[in-house]
């Protein structure tokens, strides 16, 4: 495997997920963290362009629309959508008329506190697994998924 062993995390409360960083780091992967939709879009386009690649993308459904500095002059029509930024990002990645990235090109897993109909429907349609940040049982934790998908790399 020549591709760099890197994992993309789209999460603006990454401070709450140190355990996730610790887990991935412990398996020998590098982590790239982006904290808003705009930054994530750039990373996805780079994957499409072939200038970037990730073993896995972990996306929070709700992240900030833009960076704090860019939000100062934010257009109001985006505002309502900060609760579904992750869904938009998944569509951007998978939709044929958009980036059309396959699961092989970029495996995606979603992590959210939202466990509602809209999220379930959207993820089912996109074929993207998603995990709740607060699992009912340890087996439902994203930890198992990551341990399965990200084999421990030597060195």
């Amino acid at each position: 495997m020549t591709a760099p062993a890197r994992v993309l995390i789209v999460e603006d409360q990454v401070g709450d997920l140190y355990w996730l960083l610790d887990l991935i780091h412990s398996r020998g992967y590098e982590v790239v963290v982006v904290t808003n939709e705009a930054a994530a879009q750039e990373r996805l386009r780079a994957v499409k362009d072939g200038t970037d690649s990730f073993r896995l993308a972990i996306m929070d459904i709700m992240v900030a629309v833009k960076d704090l500095k860019d939000l100062v002059n934010l257009d109001e029509r985006f505002f309502e959508d900060s609760k579904r930024t992750g869904i938009r990002l998944c569509h951007l990645a998978r939709d044929k008329d958009k980036l059309g990235l396959t699961a092989d090109q970029l495996p995606i897993v979603c992590l959210t506190v939202r466990d509602d109909e809209e999220v379930r429907e959207a993820m089912k349609a996109l074929g993207i697994p998603f995990y709740n940040k607060a699992p009912n049982t340890p087996s439902e934790s994203i930890r198992e998924f990551i341990e399965d998908r990200l084999p421990t790399l030597a060195g």
């Binding site: 409360q13 401070g15 709450d16 997920l17 140190y18 355990w19 996730l20 960083l21 610790d22 887990l23 780091h25 412990s26 709700m62 992240v63 900030a64 629309v65 833009k66 704090l68 500095k69 939000l71 100062v72 934010l74 109001e76 985006f78 505002f79 309502e80 900060s82 609760k83 930024t85 506190v113 939202r114 709740n132 940040k133 607060a134 699992p135 340890p138 934790s141 930890r143």
Partner: protein, 851 residues
């Protein structure tokens, strides 16, 4: 002397006549023209005397006939009819006895009369225009033939003389009638008993009786006959008997003998059947001569004046009739006033109230109030037609037991009525029972009228009643409405013009604790916390008739409440203000509830608005819970997964302090809930001396990891805070203020910027200020950020799961401490900074006291 002159003129005109003829004419002229007192009999007697003085005459009888050729009466000198009965009976049979001889052109011999001295008896019919107007009977000596011839030649003068005799009598009586009319009609109330007595005397009648019409019946008003009206009131329905006949036809009726069935049937068409007839009884009281004349007024017969048993005359004369008729019509006019009220029936029929007139009848000594009149309204109310009501015992129209309740009042009013003209009773509420068994409530007023014209006096009772079932239904509706108002917690009141409570109903007592007794004893103004606002409400109500408003009122226990209601000015029919009325409800709870929901207690929301807000609030709470859940989930799951990592041997403990810090923040979030609850309920809380400077430092250390993460510097000016901001308050709540403000400042600050927190002294207190550089808050948003649930669009874009509760809660806590908070934008060193300033008005005093 005019009569002498006339006699001389006749004498000279008759100069060609023989001496005997002249004497005859002279005698008759004296009969005709001499003015003599006395009745017809004495007039005729005088004439008989004059004729008897002529040569060869022994005895003379002059019989006067009426206009129908029937004998009236006679005057005589030494001559009498040979007849077993009375003179009048003899006279009545005269025509039959003389038969065809009554048409004889001259004297004829007849055996029907005799004188005291022997002589031939002859008769001479006096005819005028083909009618018999008189009869001369004479007992004569054999030498009287020339005298008889002379008399026979002068039958027209004899007729005129008889006519004059009748007129003379009428003239005399008319003088007396004139005097009587003057005496009678000059008085306010005619003395009818005296009147009939005089009339009987003048007409030489055995009895004179006056009947007056009352509701289509003739009622005995006065009579000279003491036996009339003794046992029971005498009355004639229209058309019943001879008196009723006069009443019905409005024509006078003259009869020589009421027992004469032929004559009666001939004149009236009435078949007389026996002693049961009202005009007579076993004593023959009303048999004999009869003259009845109608009292006419306003085109209608209002009574009958009746004469009976004329003395010495076979029948009343036409002159009698004319005179009596004239007098009766005068009397009718004079009496009209007295029964005006009863004549106003047509008016009564046009009013909607039920009007019934009863008369008290004596039946075996018991007075029975009988209905004699009812208008249409009464027919409707009593459920019976006029015919049924007529004569009915008035007590029978009442529902059982109802008459007994009003009896006493009626009798008292009746006593008043006998003393004065009238007595009144009522209005009283009573009930009648209709023939169909239904019982109808009514309100009735009584007025007794006593008729002093009648002896014994008649008492009429006029009852004016109104069906009150409608108003009872309304009252029932009213009661139900008030019950409903009570159930709906709505108070109702009515005020009089003096601002005193006249009606207090619905839930008023429950809301205020005031009894009507208390409320009616004083001006209602005193119930209001701000009487000026109430006055304004009244002014508005006057301008718009009715208005709505919210006012604060005192309860009986001294506490206050908010009343929302309407006010209506009451006016009388001419637009004068008579008071006010209104509904209101206690909306204190609503206002408190509203206080939880928005920040404007001045404006009272309508119930619908409030419900809409409550609904929005409930939805908001669900959102809030969801949002809170989101906020808690991440740090908690982070804690769980960190612990699991430790369990699996992950050695990296670098981030442990952060995770622990997050867990602390979580527990704070949960604690937020209980504070919020306390403050929303407005519950009092324990206060202590709190140094905001110390709290600020503690808060800074709580957030150290986040500050480091974002490379944000937090500067706490502890000296200024310690100096100016030691306040009385709830330590943990105030900590919450600082925590929330710091949390916000970190979230929305640019990385590598600075958060500054410090104290500032002001003339009227002290202020805590916290400022940061980050996403701006527009001027319009600076007040809104304190509203519950409000988040600026930029904040929403940046932090998707914020609750919009932080600043709202801060303001609640701040206000609970008597402080205020505002948001401003300041420029420092060319940089725009967001500044939150909490102003404690008495902070310095507190600090002096506690530091």
């Amino acid at each position: 002397m005019p009569i002498r002159r006339a006699a001389r003129a006749i004498q000279s005109q008759a100069s060609e006549l023989d001496a005997l003829g002249l004497r005859v004419v002279h005698s008759l002229a004296e009969t005709a023209f001499a003015s003599r007192p006395g009745d017809l009999q004495s007039q005729l007697t005088y004439m008989a005397q004059r004729i008897a003085a002529l040569p060869g005459m022994i005895g003379i009888m002059v019989v006067a006939f009426d206009e129908k050729g029937e004998p009236l009466t006679s005057g005589s000198h030494d001559l009498a009819l040979i007849h077993p009965g009375s003179l009048l009976e003899g006279l009545l049979e005269l025509r039959q006895r003389l038969g065809a001889q009554m048409s004889a052109p001259s004297w004829f011999g007849t055996p029907i009369c005799r004188s005291s001295r022997p002589g031939r008896t002859v008769a001479l019919p006096i005819r005028e225009a083909g009618k018999t107007t008189g009869l001369i009977l004479a007992a004569v000596e054999p030498r009287a033939s020339r005298t008889l011839q002379a008399l026979a030649r002068e039958t027209s003068i004899l007729a005129a003389a008889i006519r004059w005799c009748i007129r003379n009598e009428a003239w005399n009586r008319n003088q007396e009638l004139l005097r009587l009319a003057r005496e009678t009609f000059e008085k306010e109330e005619p003395n009818l008993r005296g009147l009939v007595k005089e009339l009987a005397k003048l007409f030489k009648a055995g009895a004179a009786t006056l009947f007056l019409e009352v509701q289509d019946e003739l009622w005995l008003a006065a009579s000279t006959d003491p036996r009339l009206g003794e046992e029971k009131p005498v009355f004639y329905p229209r058309g019943k008997g001879l008196t009723g006949y006069v009443f019905k036809t409005g024509q006078p009726l003259r009869l020589s003998n009421t027992e004469d069935r032929v004559e009666v049937a001939h004149l009236t068409g009435i078949e007389r059947t026996g002693p049961s007839h009202p005009e007579r009884d076993e004593d023959g009281l009303f048999t004999g001569q009869f003259l009845g004349v109608p009292l006419r007024f306003g085109g209608k017969v209002v009574g009958v004046l009746r004469m009976s048993s004329r003395e010495g005359v076979a029948r009343f004369t036409q002159e009698d009739e004319k005179a009596l008729q004239f007098f009766a019509d005068l009397l009718a006019g004079a009496l009209a006033r007295s029964w005006e009220l009863l004549l106003a029936k047509s008016i009564l029929d046009s009013v909607s109230e039920a009007i019934a007139v009863t008369r008290r009848d004596g039946e075996g000594g018991v007075h029975v109030p009988r209905l004699i009149m009812a208008n249409q309204g009464a027919e409707k109310l009593f459920g019976r037609n006029k015919e049924e009501l007529q004569g009915m015992d008035a007590r029978d129209v009442y529902a059982p037991g109802e008459y007994g309740k009003i009896k006493e009042g009626l009798i008292k009013a009746l006593r008043d009525a006998t003393g004065q003209d009238h007595g009144e009773y009522g209005p009283v509420d009573s009930r009648i029972r209709r023939p169909d068994g239904s019982v109808i409530p009514m309100r009735i007023s009584f007025r007794h009228l006593s008729n002093h014209l009648v002896q014994p006096p008649l008492v009429f009772t006029i009852g004016i009643a109104r069906d009150t079932s409608e108003s009872e239904r309304e009252a029932e509706e009213h009661r139900r409405l008030l019950g409903l108002l009570d159930a709906m917690d709505i108070a109702y009141f009515e005020l009089d013009a003096d601002d005193r409570t006249r009606v207090s109903a619905g839930a008023e007592f429950r809301i205020t604790g005031y009894s009507l007794e208390y409320l009616s004893s004083q001006s209602r103004r005193s119930l209001f916390v701000n009487p000026r606002l109430r006055r304004r409400l009244f002014e508005r109500a006057r301008a718009q008739k009715t208005t709505r408003g919210v006012l604060q009122m005192y309860r009986a226990d001294g506490s206050t409440f908010w009343a929302e209601g309407d006010l209506r000015i009451l006016e009388d029919s001419v637009g004068r203000e008579t008071g006010a009325a209104g509904f209101y409800r206690d909306i204190t709870e609503r206002i408190r509830l509203q206080g939880f929901l928005n920040e404007e207690p001045q404006k009272v929301l309508s119930e619908q608005e409030l419900l809409a807000r409550l609904k929005a609030d409930a939805e908001f709470h669900l959102d809030y819970l969801t949002s809170l859940g989101h906020q808690l989930q991440t740090p908690l799951s982070s804690l769980v997964e960190t612990l699991r990592g430790l369990e699996r041997g992950v050695k990296n403990t670098e981030h442990l302090p952060y995770v622990i810090g997050q867990a602390i923040v979580c527990s704070r979030l949960v604690r937020n809930l209980s504070y919020m609850d306390k403050i929303l309920r407005g519950e009092p809380f324990q206060k202590e001396k709190v140094s905001l400077g110390k709290l600020a430092i503690e808060t800074k250390y709580d957030f150290l990891h986040l500050l480091q993460e974002k490379k944000i510097e937090m500067v706490v000016d502890q000296a200024s805070l310690e100096r100016f901001l030691v306040v009385q308050g709830h330590r943990e709540m105030l900590r919450q203020v600082l925590v929330n403000l710091t949390d916000n400042a970190i979230k929305y600050s640019f990385p590598e910027s600075m958060i500054v927190i410090g104290g500032r002294r002001r003339s009227d207190g002290a202020a805590l200020e916290i400022s940061n550089t980050g996403i701006p808050i527009s001027e319009e948003e600076r007040e809104k950020v304190f509203q519950r649930g409000f988040r600026t669009p930029v904040a929403q874009a940046l932090i998707p799961y914020g609750t919009g509760l932080g600043l709202w809660l801060i303001r609640k806590i701040v206000e609970a401490h008597g402080a205020t908070i505002r948001c401003d934008e300041v420029i420092e060193g060319g940089q725009k900074r967001i500044l939150f300033r909490i102003f404690f008005p008495n902070a310095r005093l507190s600090s002096r006291r506690y530091s």
